[in-house]
Symmetry: C2
Subunit: 374 residues, 2 copies
């Protein structure tokens, strides 16, 4: 069953029940505005990735600031957005299985939708389902630009797959998906520049080879919060798929910018609010937020604005804090904010966002696509 | 919103949509029966930990085989069990905060409930709330028996706290909570024996000191799937709090028994069913189940009965498989079972269990306390 919201509109942050997923609305608004400004400067479009927020409410705020639409990873996420009125959705991922593909093509009747592929057999399956549903489905070719995961090789293999899409009466070739996830978390600007440089070269070569066989790319999409300046400056990418910029997790904050400084232009806007439930041991305090409350796949959360207090261990329902000598020991009942190590899967643990401004709860938004993995 | 079930009763396993949380019902029933037999041999009671299954349906099956009740970690989990008819619940954890404590004492009107504490201030808060609600609340003292997390020191500190509970008119001293989580995953039997030996000694000393001041322990509770034979054989522990034995995750299977063999008496009964969504790279296949679908806090999942195929990388929605030379490469669309590295948080990612027997879906059970962290 769904959990009830942990707060009521108007209450003080200190009254919110914990663990709770908090948005600092001032920081969040500033992040939305900054990205819109950066995209305008680059002359590039944002297709924000909804795998971060899982929420039509947030999608609409991004689109009101100029985003052309949303990316998702799963059909179930696309359904939630489409049902919430989002008009243009790209599934930046392969969709496999007859039930899922049937749901995908059904969405083409209520929104503009596109999907990726890296397999000729799947092109046939998508075409057959689109034909049966009486729709024309936009399909992008995913190319492997460094991740070594999904995607055909750039160049001739991608061209051949694009031609098979273009040849199908119920499909339309929509362009290239060229995302290099690993490059987002390379710490130095130089490393990211080298890695994304190779991504851009491989993508440019493929776009050119497609052009030579008469195929143009409506969308050349990719990039994330860690690298998007590079793709946006290439003049090649038409759509930037950043998602995490709205919240900024602890891991992205470990990247360095061109000047060798920690990346800081986007602000931490997402927090897990937690309560100290035990302080029975010296120099130890225990929070009610473990790895069920804040995902640890990209490292532990960090404690917000509490010098000398470090999050050093997570079990299912407990977060262990080490308190440095001389630092204030958190008291039982005290509430602390944590910055999640990785926002996207942390959001997936909650049914509700609690939006806070000036210390008060201003809004409750459902995490509508929580658990939408299908 | 809740996700719809990924299956219908009667369909073949191969037709289940993915990722899905599968129970092998034959293995599950065998695990339930084996634990009931082991408890009977030891003359000890099981108070199964519901943090594993999060389901009144499964709780009732454990109690039908002799379990005296259930443990939970959170008030929200206790509510789900109580609302589902479970009559006897121990929150094996501290509960802090006036809203949570009010909900806790309210449950005392519909079931037998107990909670743990390690703080004198919290004893006062529990007593005040119980008095206001007109109930008598059972409270156990948690002692730190090696985890270095929650719990007062065994011995005099525990006795003083027990006396403060016993002195409150709205509280009743219920005994000791003495759980050593870290010892569950020590790999050799000898290491576990040494570690739990110290746990038992400290607990026995505390029970004796309590007796000397006229306080008896209705419950001496603790132990988990990795160590319970030791606590059960002590003659001291009255209730064993094992939970994972019903499913057996990949990490518990890395423990060794007294004969130096991998622990194998309980069977793997919980799987994440996943689909191959890409096989575009040589010796690589990509599943639709990443760390959102199978928690990685205790290591990656393992691939079930597919020699030469290893799960080597997890991102949010992708699981990367490495295929050894000569092994069959999984085909796009093929479905594979994964054994989760850690069952409890993996279960928390799903709204539904799909029970399978003889290759067919036999039941759908809600993961009723999914997300119940409050």
């Amino acid at each position: 069953m769904l959990q009830p919201p942990p707060a009521r509109i108007g209450m003080a942050e200190s009254e919110i029940d914990t663990p709770a997923l908090i948005i600092d609305l001032d920081a969040f608004d500033a992040n939305l505005d900054l990205m819109a400004m950066l995209m305008a400067q680059h002359g590039t479009k944002l297709r924000a990735h909804a795998k971060t927020h899982k929420s039509p409410v947030i999608a609409h705020q991004q689109m009101a600031r100029g985003a052309v639409g949303q990316c998702v990873q799963k059909v179930a996420e696309a359904e939630i957005l489409a049902w919430g009125g989002v008009p243009d959705i790209l599934i930046s991922n392969e969709v496999v299985g007859s039930d899922k593909i049937a749901r995908l093509v059904a969405l083409a009747k209520i929104c503009r939708i596109a999907v990726c592929t890296d397999d000729a057999g799947q092109v046939a399956a998508l075409g057959q389902a689109a034909q049966a549903a009486g729709v024309v489905l936009r399909v992008l070719v995913e190319i492997d630009v460094g991740a070594g995961r999904c995607g055909v090789a750039p160049g001739p293999a991608a061209v051949a797959l694009a031609q098979s899409i273009a040849a199908h009466p119920a499909l339309r070739f929509g362009g290239l998906q060229a995302y290099h996830g690993g490059a987002q978390h390379l710490r130095s600007y130089g490393e990211r520049q080298t890695s994304i440089g190779a991504t851009i070269d491989a993508t440019r070569r493929t776009v050119e080879q497609l052009r030579q066989v008469g195929l143009s790319c409506d969308i050349v999409g990719g990039a994330g919060t860690g690298s998007f300046d590079l793709e946006a400056a290439s003049g090649l990418f038409t759509e930037i798929q950043a998602g995490s910029y709205i919240f900024m997790d602890a891991d992205y904050a470990r990247n360095f910018d061109e000047a060798g400084q920690p990346v800081s232009r986007f602000r931490h806007a997402l927090f897990v609010l937690s309560t100290v439930m035990s302080a029975a041991q010296p120099n130890v305090a225990v929070l009610d937020a473990g790895h069920k409350a804040a995902s640890v796949d990209s490292g532990f959360p960090t404690v917000w604005q509490r010098p000398g207090v470090s999050y050093v261990g997570a079990s299912d329902e407990h977060g262990s804090l080490r308190v440095a000598d001389g630092a204030d020991v958190p008291a039982v009942g005290e509430k602390l904010r944590l910055v999640p190590g990785h926002c996207d899967p942390t959001v997936d643990r909650y049914d509700w966002y609690v939006g806070v401004r000036n210390g008060r709860v201003e809004c409750l938004w459902p995490v509508a696509a929580r658990g939408a993995m299908f």
